[in-house]
């Protein structure tokens, strides 16, 4: 029954191996003929899995083998698909398949076409294994594997220096987060004696057995990994640079899937997080800060991909604080809708860049709707969704996040502050999104019309755009009506089952601490979390719509009617503008305070410790050996009498050895 689960990751893996081994000689320019059907097959099987889980409401499991059997430390490689996994599978394979198809056109004629179509399915395989894993060790393994694929694909144009640097930056910044994740896994094993998720001996079932401090430390360590992978403050700096990779890669890895691995990890570990209010607070604060910061930076950027990248950072922040405020379903819902509309936006960017002959500066574009109507229309849909306009996908999920924060049972008061700031971020989102749309697709041509002839992209590229646009329109309705849609019924069990256990644990802690408020909160939690009245839903829907439309209108005033001047505003708030334009100064700060001192330290370690001390010691020993050798060889004089003398001297030495008392015989005359 469950034996087909293995097919989902296996197909892309096989495709990757084929293209890696035979790409140079056999598949070459037809590498997509291997990869696209593989990912399509994987998508189809995921669909079957979704259907089965939908019908049976039971998780599907397939045991493969034991990777590390070492005493009490056992790491099995098992596939496990519950509702959360099923959603992730659908997201990864759907967007993955569309990006694969899109890449046929986008990467056409690239010198290392096969390499691209080897790395991309390799990434899909790793990502699928990550969400299918049933223990932290395997999650960690494939966490690193997706990181590797990301590294390889950011540096795909490795001859370009900036691409190489961006790849290194992404990899190194992620190391910081991965260190935390790694320590978290160790801590989990140390505490629980296992790394497995499920079962009565698994981690999630026994969260309540351990102290809150321990659980908090574990949760925070896991979240450190999420901060790196999901580009949260303060490790967000790698994601905008990662746009050096080919645009389909940005769409798939750095918008739709890999960056959501951190969100997935926290959602998967919700049993741990729910048991620690401190951890939840940290997640909320970091997420909220990231959402606001990302949106504010996106306002001032001019590189089309960077704007969308900062938008991604901001949206990931939305998901993170949704997790933190306990709106688990909203976070995953947003993860799913975001995957579609942000994938759409990135692919649209790719189409624009493709049509504009590799131009990425939005100041050198304009009026492109005339030249590329399909791209315009789909991009507009994506932008509306991102801005949160009814009834597109982004509206439903973002609205739910905001409502979730308002009624948060974890932080009843702080949640209100979160809501207000979230609205601010949403306003900025609408503004920067339509600043982009107006500057790129409206107004007059800001490029050399003599030489640059923008053109619509080929069918393999616009096809996925259209499909994604349709999905962006429709996907939100799986969450309709809000808080009570099919999506919530489907995925709710993942969080509710643990919510019950976790709140029990918290309740017991609360009783010990004699904390009344917590107990009340736990009580609420047990009664199925938050109940939202219809009035409240409509109220918030209206408010967020007003906020979004307000943002769009402001952008309209600036960039279409030009009744407000962007230049004048920028000049007036010069300091703020530069602050935002320089991305809050994080890159400079890290460069000066972290990278530069580290480089100096590395230089010191290299030039002094390594070259002088270590090499010096080694070379010194070698030199000493050589000179000893040169000296000793002179003993060989070639004169026979000297040789005989050596023998005689040897005898004297031996007598000496006996004289100093080495003898078991009690020799009187030698004493």
């Amino acid at each position: 029954m469950a034996d087909y689960l293995i097919l989902i990751p296996l197909l892309p893996l096989v495709a990757a191996i084929i293209n890696l081994l035979l790409g140079r000689t056999v598949t070459r320019g037809k590498a997509h003929l291997v990869s696209v059907p593989a990912v399509a097959g994987s998508w189809f099987v995921s669909l079957l899995v979704l259907r089965d889980i939908w019908n049976t409401e039971h998780a599907i499991e397939q045991k493969l083998f034991t990777w590390i059997p070492s005493g009490s430390f056992n790491v099995p490689v098992n596939l496990y698909a519950d509702q959360l996994t099923a959603v992730m599978l659908m997201v990864v394979t759907s967007v993955g398949l569309l990006v694969h198809i899109y890449s046929i056109g986008y990467m056409h004629g690239d010198g290392a076409y096969y390499r691209f179509f080897a790395y991309l399915p390799l990434f899909v395989f790793s990502m699928l294994m990550l969400v299918l894993a049933d223990n932290y060790m395997i999650v960690f393994f494939f966490w690193e594997a997706v990181g590797l694929c990301s590294f390889l694909l950011i540096g795909y144009y490795y001859k370009r220096r900036s691409a190489g640097n961006a790849a290194k930056k992404a990899f190194i910044v992620n190391r910081v987060g991965d260190l935390g994740f790694g320590l978290g896994v160790i801590m989990i094993f140390w505490t629980f004696g296992t790394v497995n998720f499920w079962g009565p001996e698994g981690v999630f079932a026994r969260v309540g057995d351990f102290g809150q401090t321990t659980i908090t430390v574990i949760a925070l360590l896991l979240f450190t990994g999420a901060i790196g992978k999901s580009a949260q403050f303060p490790l967000h700096v790698w994601l905008p640079d990662a746009m050096e990779g080919p645009t389909p890669v940005s769409a798939l890895i750095h918008a739709a899937t890999m960056v959501t691995a951190g969100i997935y990890l926290v959602a998967r570990s919700n049993a741990l997080f729910q048991a620690s209010t401190t951890a939840m607070l940290v997640v909320t604060c970091i997420g909220l800060f990231t959402a606001v910061m990302g949106a504010s930076i996106a306002i001032t950027q001019n590189d089309i991909k960077r704007i969308v990248a900062y938008s991604t950072v901001s949206q990931l922040g939305f998901m993170a604080f949704a997790l933190g405020t306990g709106a688990w379903m909203a976070a995953i819902f947003h993860l799913m809708t975001h995957a579609f509309f942000k994938g759409l936006l990135f692919l649209g960017c790719g189409s624009v860049i493709h049509g504009m002959h590799e131009e990425q500066d939005i100041q050198k574009m304009g009026n492109l709707r005339k030249y590329m109507p399909v791209t315009f229309l789909t991009f507009l849909i994506g932008s509306l969704a991102n801005a949160g306009i009814f009834p597109l996908a982004g509206f439903w999920s973002k609205d739910e996040i905001i409502v979730g924060a308002w009624i948060s049972t974890v932080f009843p008061n702080f949640g209100k502050v979160v809501t207000v700031l979230a609205f601010a971020a949403a306003f900025m989102t609408a503004f920067y999104m339509f600043r982009l749309v107006f500057k790129v697709f409206f107004g007059k041509e800001n490029f050399d019309t003599e030489h640059v002839h923008p053109h619509e992209s080929p069918k393999t590229m616009t096809g996925p755009l259209v499909i994604l646009a349709v999905a962006t329109i429709l996907i939100g309705f799986v969450g309709f009506p809000p808080e009570d849609g099919k999506f919530h019924h489907f995925i709710g069990t993942v969080f509710e089952s643990h919510a019950g256990e976790a709140t029990h644990a918290m309740a017991s802690v609360a009783v010990h601490n004699d904390g009344g408020a917590l107990a009340v909160m736990a009580e609420e939690g047990e009664h199925g979390g938050h109940h939202v009245s219809l009035a409240m839903t409509i109220t918030f829907g209206v408010i967020s719509s007003v906020v979004a439309i307000g943002g769009i209108f402001l952008a309209y005033l600036y960039y279409i009617r030009r009744s407000l001047s962007a230049e004048a505003t920028a000049a007036r708030f010069n300091g703020l503008y530069n602050f935002l334009y320089n991305r809050w100064g994080f890159d400079t700060l890290y460069q000066e305070r972290i990278v530069a001192p580290l480089m100096r330290l590395a230089y010191f370690l290299w030039q002094v410790i390594d070259v002088k001390v270590i090499d010096g010691t080694v070379n010194g020993i070698a030199k000493g050996t050589l000179s000893a050798s040169q000296t000793l060889r002179k003993v060989q004089t070639g004169v026979v009498s000297n040789y005989a003398l050596a023998i005689a001297l040897g005898m004297v030495v031996i007598i000496g050895i006996y004289l100093v008392g080495f003898s078991s015989l009690d020799v009187p005359f030698l004493r």
């Binding site: 031996i654 080495f662 003898s663 015989l665």
Partner: protein, 518 residues
């Protein structure tokens, strides 16, 4: 009693001596053939007869393998030690014939092949007699028979001054050492009243346990014996003849000299020090251990600054003597503890130290003769013996370079080659005997040796070839090199089986069942 002894002397059990007799008659037959066979047929016939003779002796060894008897009134012993040492010596003989035949026949002004084979046979015969000796006199006679033949072999390239010089030094110092050895033997006889190893051991056992009067003079005898035999195995500081003699001798002879006379020297040590003076183990093991350390360090250190590969291997062979002596130092008269393997059903007690020494000797025959064989191979093709002459061999002749690499790496002691296991067992034996520092010394000395062994490999693969090799055909030599290269890998992979044999035979060795003297 006396009558019985003389009867044994008059009508000995000849069949026990079959392998040794075969080699003896081989020498005689070779002499006859050399005299009466037409010159044109010398190469083929003499070589075939030599190899056949040694092979027959190996086959004859099979019937000796489970014996533990003596004849000629105890002069001759057929025990496990005899068998294993004889096997090593006869293998070395066959390999030497294979590697030296064309060299002697063609290079250095066409040396007389018949004489060469005869001398080789007598040298082997002498070594075989030492290996089977049960008596001081027999040991001395065997050593001298082997040495005299080897002196001549060392001088065999008589047109070359360095050959004569090296051989002359070897001879003079050899006489000096023999004098010391025989002086030491007279002291042993004087103290114990016997030349028979068992009776000597029995007497010394009494001395150690206190049932006999204490005779400190025995230490003097021990000293003289160690110096005399230390010379034979080229232990520092009695090694001085080695580089000159090895350098002067024809290259394949050097390979032979570094194995067979060394094996004979260790055979004498095993008979004399372990069987005869075994009860005094506590008085000599530290001495041997110190000499072993000196020998390892000195040999490897000086080898580093040699540019002549042959001379480098001469020093390397000194270093390997040191490793072997570690096995000897690890000899523990309280035998039976900490042994490697327990063979099903064996009754004798084996000693890990002796086992590792025997294993080392066996391995060394296949590694070192092989290394010298590749030098011979290069010389055949118009090159010298300097490092530069090996430049680019990896390009011009990958197979020869590969074989040389195997030998170098095996000498260095890298798994899974034969040389690794030899060193490994020696180290284990040293640790078992509570000589941890000695085991550490072995490892450090090996690290030193990596430099000059790998330098040969590096030169072969990373330097550009200097000039063309002369085209020539040396089928027998090639076969010998191939055989040894394969043996290095195969015997390395099946090292356990070889170790079992060494263990079995060292266990079967008739050690006077000495008791710990502490």
């Amino acid at each position: 009693m006396n009558l019985d002894l003389s009867l044994d002397l008059i009508s000995p059990v000849w069949r026990l001596t079959t392998p040794q007799l075969i080699v003896f008659f081989l020498a005689l037959v070779l002499l006859m053939l050399d005299a009466f066979l037409p010159k044109a047929k010398h190469f083929t016939v003499l070589t075939a007869v030599s190899i056949g003779g040694y092979a027959a002796a190996i086959v004859a060894l099979y019937w000796q393998h489970d014996k533990n008897e003596s004849t000629f009134n105890g002069l001759f012993r057929a025990d496990g030690l005899t068998v294993f040492l004889s096997l090593i010596l006869l293998c070395a003989a066959i390999l030497s014939v294979m590697t030296s035949a064309s060299y002697v026949d063609r290079l250095e002004g066409r040396m007389p092949l018949g004489e060469f084979y005869v001398l080789l046979a007598f040298s082997i015969l002498g070594a075989l007699l030492v290996a089977s000796a049960g008596n001081l006199i027999m040991i001395f006679v065997g050593i001298e028979l082997s040495a005299l033949a080897t002196y001549v072999l060392a001088a065999f390239a008589k047109r070359r001054a360095t050959a004569l010089e090296g051989a002359m030094k070897y001879f003079l110092l050899g006489m000096f050492a023999s004098a010391l050895l025989v002086y030491g033997m007279t002291w042993v006889y004087g103290i114990t009243g016997s030349t028979d190893l068992d009776q000597i051991a029995a007497h010394l056992q009494g001395v150690v346990t206190g049932s006999e009067s204490r005779q400190p003079e025995i230490l003097f005898a021990l000293l003289l014996v160690v110096v005399g035999l230390g010379f034979k195995i080229a232990a520092v500081p009695f090694h001085m003849w080695t580089p000159d003699a090895y350098d002067g001798a024809p290259t394949p002879v050097t390979g032979f000299m570094s194995v067979a006379p060394k094996a004979a020297g260790f055979a004498a040590i095993l008979r004399l020090l372990v069987q005869g003076l075994g009860p005094l183990r506590d008085d000599w093991y530290l001495l041997i251990a110190i000499l072993a350390t000196l020998t390892m360090i000195f040999g490897n250190l000086v080898a580093i600054s040699q540019r002549n590969v042959k001379r480098m291997l001469a020093y390397s062979s000194i270093a390997h003597t040191g490793y072997m002596m570690v096995g000897l130092a690890a000899y523990n008269s309280a035998s039976g503890e900490g042994r490697f393997v327990s063979l099903a059903g064996d009754t004798a007690q084996s000693d890990p130290g002796i086992t590792s020494l025997l294993y080392y000797l066996f391995a060394y025959a296949f590694v070192n003769i092989g290394a010298f064989a590749v030098i011979t191979w290069v010389q055949h093709r118009g090159r010298g013996m300097l490092l530069e002459d090996f430049a680019g061999l990896g390009q011009t002749n990958p197979l020869a370079a590969f074989a040389m690499t195997i030998f170098m790496v095996s000498l260095m002691g890298v798994p899974p080659l034969l040389g690794f296991y030899a060193k490994y067992y020696v180290i284990v034996a040293a640790i078992n005997a509570d000589l941890l520092w000695l085991a550490v010394a072995v490892v450090l000395a090996s690290a030193l040796s990596a430099y000059f062994y790998l330098r040969v490999v590096a030169v072969m693969y990373f330097s550009a070839p200097s000039r063309e090799l002369r085209a020539t055909s040396t089928p027998l030599l090639n076969a010998g090199i191939a055989l040894m290269a394969v043996a290095n890998v195969a015997l390395g992979l099946f090292s356990n089986q070889v170790l079992d044999l060494a263990d079995f035979w060292s266990g079967a060795m008739t050690v006077a069942q000495a008791v710990a003297s502490r």
